[in-house]
Amino acid sequence: MNMPSLQTIEHFLQDEADLLDCADLENWINLFTEDGTYWMPATPDQDDPLNHISHIYDDRVMMEIRKRNFVHPRAASKEPTIRCSHLLGNIRLHGVSSDGLLRVESKFHVVVWYRESQRIYAGRCEHLLRQEEDQLKIYRKRVDLLNADGPQQSLILYL
């Protein structure tokens, strides 16, 4: 994999965030490699998604199920309007590993509107990206919430 420019990566992350803000899960899931995962750990510095609890650790199969659930007419938690708005920054490229994965770190603020109230999530994001033919794909997206180990309210979106 050739090292893409910072601007290419910035546009990629912004496009990804925009798909989440537009609730376009179909196209968002397609950004992931077939073996891609989305991980939101439940403690800071967590190094294991399997032997430690996480808020979310989804592969493509679970993403497909969430996508269907998100628009199911009988999901009580999804009946109120839910929207989010991502703001990304501090994007840093950390180089390509020997197995061809580009590691990108960024910071995020996401404002979520749900059940007549607004709340804010903040934290650090790590993308491991792989070049597949002429496209960048997400092999792993890791979202470390600032309050990962704090009490959480229902969150029925990917951040």
Binding site: S54, H55, I65, N69, P73, A75, E79
Partner: protein, 438 residues
């Protein structure tokens, strides 16, 4: 403000409850004093404090801070987290290790891990003041009673509460089954905790645990989403995944839930399932089965597997899933607010895959970002807000009324019965009117 016994008696009737139970802050305060202030409350598991000086801090009701700590003789104590001097909480963090002795951060009084006072700085200033330095009232106060069963530590603020084992009654079988599912007969906390804020009254989750008329309605969306995904797969694709085993049974039929039965005990404890539950058809992992058979033999192993419960409630603070090996702990905050903690357990001597399945369950079902818990909370919230209505003053629970089968130490019914409601509100009334330990 107090509420007299006749009034409390009117609020809880055999087949209906007054909405004030969920909305009235004065009732909540009384519950904290009389239910949470008398019942044995789950504090934590001994495996959370494996070494001398390890502590875990929590609240025994909505306010009273307590800590669980292991002393130099390896005994576990539950102490009030409050310096006897000026009142400062002795430990600040939720868990950690203290070397040597507790030291109050305010004036430096130090205490052994059993709570006894070690030293007061510059103590000669107390000479001749009537201050009794050797009096137990200068120790970190122990909670009135504390004890553990198979590592599960409970404490009660009541000196009158019966011994823990007696209070657990026949429901103790579920602790035994959870621990016996370990080839070594022991479990330990593993893989961290999830804390989930619920903006509704604490009783909603207890009422929901064994309300088997709700899963096929509330969880229809996730079950159908999983089914529709599975149906979209090509014919030769793998369909066997732990996620499917976990999610799909939430859509089980009314008949299946009815068949699995429900059993209630004194003090509000109850479980549904027994001979079967929505967890009964999980694949038995070969390496785990081999370890079990080696430890217990084939017949006893089958016996252990065959007692398969769904949720067991130890009223009011703890609910356990024996077949999944996780627990949820209720920590009330206000009339319309509480936190649920989900802890997962490792079966000692079992392969890592068992813990991984437990954590998968906790993540899919009990996470605030899951596809099951948020739908449960959404309906509790609607009830919390709907109960402000003046259209009706009562919630009802007639199902199976008059049909419960009363045995020596327990009451049983078909699984879709409201026996769980009758069991817990009988205890509610006994605690609230001062009859529980008479």
């Amino acid at each position: 403000m107090t509420i007299d016994v006749q009034e409390l008696d009117q609020l809880v009737q055999p087949t209906r409850l007054h909405k004030r139970l969920y909305t009235d802050p004065a009732i909540f305060e009384l519950e904290m004093e009389r239910i949470w202030g008398q019942a044995w409350i789950f504090i934590g598991h001994e495996s959370q404090v494996p070494n001398t000086g390890d502590y875990f801090s929590t609240h025994i009701n909505h306010k009273i801070p307590v800590l669980m700590v292991r002393d130099k003789a390896a005994r576990v104590h539950v102490l009030h987290n409050r310096c006897p001097h000026k009142g400062a909480r002795i430990v600040e963090n939720r868990s950690g290790n203290v070397r040597g002795a507790f030291r109050c951060p305010y004036h430096g009084w130090t205490f052994q891990f059993d709570g006894s006072l070690v030293k007061i700085p510059n103590e000669k200033g107390y000479d001749g003041t009537g201050f009794e330095i050797n009096s137990a009232c200068n120790n970190l106060a122990p909670v009135a009673q504390y004890d553990s069963y198979r590592g599960f530590v409970f404490a009660t603020l009541s000196a009158e509460a019966p011994p823990l084992k007696e209070w657990l009654g026949g429901a103790i079988a579920c602790f035994d089954n959870l621990c016996d599912r370990s080839p070594e007969g022991e479990v330990e906390v593993a893989g961290g905790v999830l804390r989930y804020e619920h903006d509704c009254n604490w009783k909603f989750i207890l009422e929901n645990l064994n309300d088997t008329m709700h899963p096929m309605v509330v969880h229809q969306s996730v079950v159908q989403s999983a089914q529709s995904y599975i149906e979209s797969l090509p014919a030769d694709a793998t369909r066997e995944r732990s996620e499917a085993e976990i999610i799909l049974p939430f859509g089980s039929s009314y008949e299946k839930f009815e068949d699995s039965g429900i059993t209630g005990f004194r003090y509000g404890h109850h479980y549904d399932g027994g001979k079967s539950s929505i967890h009964a058809d999980y694949a038995v992992m070969p390496a785990y089965h081999a370890a079990m058979v080696q430890a217990y033999g084939e017949e006893r192993t089958r016996d252990i597997y065959s007692f398969n419960t769904h949720n067991t409630l130890y009223y009011p603070s703890l609910t356990i899933k024996t077949a999944v090996q996780n627990i949820r702990v209720v920590r009330p905050i206000a009339v319309d607010r509480f936190i649920v903690e989900t802890w997962s357990f490792r079966l000692k001597g079992a392969p890592d895959e068992m813990l991984q399945r437990t954590l998968l369950y906790s993540r899919l079902i009990n996470s605030a970002m899951g596809m099951v818990g948020p739908d449960d909370l959404a309906v509790y919230r609607r009830a919390q807000e709907g109960l402000a209505s003046t259209g009706h003053d009562w919630v009802e629970f007639h199902r199976g009324f008059g049909k419960d089968v009363t045995l020596a130490d327990r009451v049983t019914a078909g699984g879709t019965s409201d026996l769980d409601m009758r069991t817990q509100y009988k205890a509610w009334k006994e605690y609230m009117t001062g009859e529980a330990f008479r």
